[in-house]
């Protein structure tokens, strides 16, 4: 088994474990931390998929920004010492069943389709090429993503301002 496979297995196991922890712990703060771990694992997988820049971006944006924002939100929301609603079993069973059904269908689809592998050898994963594409084909999405971020922040501000108006 090559080193590559070994790393892949370790990374995927850690990501999946962290993901399971992220959705199963009773306390939300633990979920947040396990989410950060899972994102780290995913960054590793990106690395494996030979797109290093993205791995780094993943760490910076996701783990650094979004996860932290989530933890901030957890701090503002009801302190964790308040009683957590006990687990509602029928709901859990139901959701497990549905997700299992979802995965089963996906599995069936993925395994049955003959994936055509790409023939070109020179795989240019470099950042320069990525930059050329971002400002080539994806110029419009690139601009629009900035508008989206601008709108999101403005909206968040608005929601915050609603606080005074509301009181």
């Amino acid at each position: 088994m090559t080193l590559q496979n070994l790393i892949f297995i370790i990374l995927s196991v850690t990501t999946l474990a962290a993901a399971v922890m992220a959705v199963s712990f009773k306390k939300v703060i633990y979920n947040a931390f396990s989410l950060m771990l899972c994102l780290g694992g995913i960054a590793g997988i990106f690395f494996l998929l030979s797109s290093e820049f993205l791995a780094v971006m993943e760490i910076i944006v996701y783990v650094g920004a979004i996860a932290i924002a989530i933890i901030f939100a957890i701090m503002f929301s009801p302190p964790h010492f308040m009683h957590q609603p006990e687990r509602n079993w029928p709901k859990t069973v139901r959701s497990i069943a549905i997700s299992a059904f979802f995965f089963a269908t996906l599995y069936k689809v993925l395994t049955t389709t003959p994936w055509g592998m790409s023939t070109t050898q020179e795989a240019d994963f470099s950042i320069q090429h990525l930059g050329k594409i971002l400002l080539g084909i994806y110029t419009l999405p690139f601009e629009v993503i900035s508008i989206i971020l601008f709108i999101a922040i403005l909206g968040a501000l608005l929601m915050a301002r609603k606080r005074e108006a509301h009181e």
Partner: protein, 103 residues
């Protein structure tokens, strides 16, 4: 298990499934937000996997994943701000209490 396309797809499939489970089961809004992030990441793994094994132009997938990360960020900020407004309104972020609009 060799490091082939199917492996990554299955990995992202399980991640997505876990995200879906989290979405349906978590009783806490932030928990739901976390599971959305999971699903989005699963999709980005998918994209990168296809980018590496299938796509002729290797930069495409990466650009897409980059955009996805941007999107996820925007969505998360917005979701969190609304969640906090909701928290101020009903002092709990339990999704099951947010069911006044029905019928």
């Amino acid at each position: 298990m060799s490091e082939s396309l199917i492996a990554y797809l299955l990995l992202s499939g399980t991640l997505a499934a876990i995200g879906v489970y989290g979405f349906l089961e978590r009783r806490n809004l932030i928990g739901i937000l976390i599971s959305i992030e999971l699903i989005l990441n699963a999709a980005s793994i998918n994209f990168l996997a296809f980018n590496k094994f299938v796509s002729p132009d290797k930069g495409l997938g990466q650009a897409i994943v980059l955009l996805i990360i941007g999107l996820a960020a925007a969505e998360a900020t917005l979701a969190l701000s609304i969640i906090l407004v909701l928290y101020r309104g009903m002092t709990s972020i339990n999704i099951e209490e947010a069911n006044h609009l029905k019928g």
